[in-house]
């Protein structure tokens, strides 16, 4: 037993892993490998090795906390088996009461962002002011400059919190837009068919 402890204490990667673990406990947002390596002043490859060690150690059914990779970095979360207890004690302010309008607006910003409120309104067919304000307040989207030209509208894009809440490693993890609403061609053909039939 003593010899095992001595082995762990003298293993440099394990020492590194403990430091990484400490940083991740303090952090309130995912930390990238680069950020961890800079803080520890160590090689990024060695940090990744340490992260691999931690992912094994902090995984479902092995620990109450789980190390996961999302929003472009690594972060701890509660294990899923503890979710019911968490739900009794904690709130989910970010995603609670997200309306259909807010979800559609979020989808537009996630896929087409950075984009402005008028662009969102053009696609959805209704004003997006309150939906955008709600999403900004929740921290799911944030301002990302303005459209070119004088008086250009403010543009928005999704935040790392959006990726974290939805469990996405990054925006590329979203399904391809072409795979959604596959019957669009049929819709166009049908309308054209109707128009052609009456025009003749």
């Amino acid at each position: 037993m003593d010899s095992t402890l001595r082995l762990i204490a003298t293993n440099p990667v394990d020492h590194l892993a403990r430091t990484v673990e400490a940083l991740l406990v303090v952090a309130s947002a995912p930390l990238s490998v680069a950020e961890l390596a800079e803080a520890i002043e160590d090689d990024p490859e060695r940090v990744e090795t340490a992260l691999g060690l931690l992912r094994e150690r902090f995984s479902e059914r092995r620990s109450g906390i789980v190390l996961e990779k999302d929003a472009g970095g690594y972060a701890f979360r509660a294990s899923r088996e503890a979710s019911e207890a968490c739900a009794r004690l904690f709130e989910r302010p970010v995603e609670r009461g997200l309306s259909q309008a807010a979800l559609e607006t979020l989808a537009v910003v996630a896929y087409l962002g950075p984009c402005s409120r008028p662009e969102v309104a053009r696609i959805r067919g209704v004003a997006a002011d309150s939906a955008v304000a709600s999403l900004v307040e929740r921290g799911l989207i944030s301002e990302a400059g303005r459209e070119s030209g004088p008086g250009g509208a403010v543009r928005y894009r999704t935040t790392p919190l959006f990726e974290r809440v939805f469990g996405l490693e990054n925006l590329a993890a979203l399904p391809r837009l072409d795979d959604l609403g596959a019957s669009s061609g049929e819709l166009r053909d049908r309308l054209l068919e109707v128009s052609a039939a009456r025009a003749s």
């Binding site: 309130s28 989808a107 939805f166 399904p175 166009r188 309308l191």
Partner: protein
């Protein structure tokens, strides 16, 4: 009140509508709207939907294909009506042919449908992540960059402070007290000059004087011209100003007229 007559196996778009503003097949209604031969505000879409629902209720079984087609067409009609009711929108249906309008309509509907599907995907994703709990908080503080200062020497600091303690040089206010020489001084000078010479250059006479003295000399010159004592000529802007006796000018003018 609208009524709708459906026949088994007949596509919804060919069903006859009997509305207050229109009577005929559904697709003809769409085409008339696209061609702007029918006022969109006159078409009661709710009445069409109610009529279709009543028609469904009368039947023993639901034709899902017909329902789907009806939804597509009535949603197209709704968007068309909304767009024509608000002509300032970017779609500009006035400039489009019916086929183009239909294509534009379909493109927009498809775009919205994709976003709607994406919203459904996000909602499902969120539901699937309901048992993921993590700490939420403000973004961690970025590490403050260390201020890198060059090695400091106390003596150098003392020297710098000493330099600061030296009283600054007194600001010269000499330009505030302008001395204006009397105009009469230059009047006398120019008169004396013209008594000796017929012509002289103003620039040459005031060269070396201060700007104030030059200005006073110019005033004296204007005064002489006003009194008819001198003639002033300048071949071009900023060219030397030539001063001559006034009687010489009169002689020159007279000679020129006589010639």
């Amino acid at each position: 009140m609208a009524s709708l007559r459906a026949m088994p196996g007949v596509p919804v778009r060919e069903l006859d509508l009997d509305l207050e503003a229109f009577e005929g097949p559904f697709d003809l209604l769409l085409t008339l709207l696209l061609r702007e031969e029918l006022e969109p505000g006159e078409v009661d879409v709710a009445a069409i939907v109610l009529a279709f629902v009543e028609h469904l209720a009368e039947r023993d079984e639901i034709d899902l294909d017909a329902c789907g087609e009806f939804l597509v067409l009535v949603s197209a009609l709704l968007e068309l009506k909304a767009r024509l009711l608000f002509p300032d929108e970017a779609a500009e249906p006035d400039a489009l042919e019916p086929e183009e309008a239909a294509e534009e309509l379909a493109r927009r509907l498809a775009e919205y449908r994709r976003m709607k599907e994406a919203a459904v995907w996000l909602a499902e994703r969120l539901a699937g992540e309901r048992d993921r709990w993590f700490r939420l908080g403000p973004a961690p503080l970025a590490p403050q960059p260390e201020r890198r200062l060059a090695p400091q020497d106390p003596n150098a600091l003392a020297t710098a402070l000493r330099a600061l303690a030296v009283p600054p040089p007194a600001v010269s206010l000499s330009h505030m007290a302008l001395r204006f020489p009397p105009v009469s001084q230059f009047l006398d000078r120019f008169r004396a000059l013209l008594s000796r010479r017929r012509v002289f250059d103003f620039d040459g006479e005031v060269a070396g004087l201060s700007r104030v003295e030059q200005a006073v000399a110019f005033l004296a010159l204007l005064e002489l011209r006003k009194g008819g004592e001198v003639a002033i000529s300048q071949s071009a802007p900023f060219a030397p100003i030539r001063i001559s006796r006034a009687d010489d000018e009169r002689i020159t003018t007279w000679t020129a007229r006589s010639a």
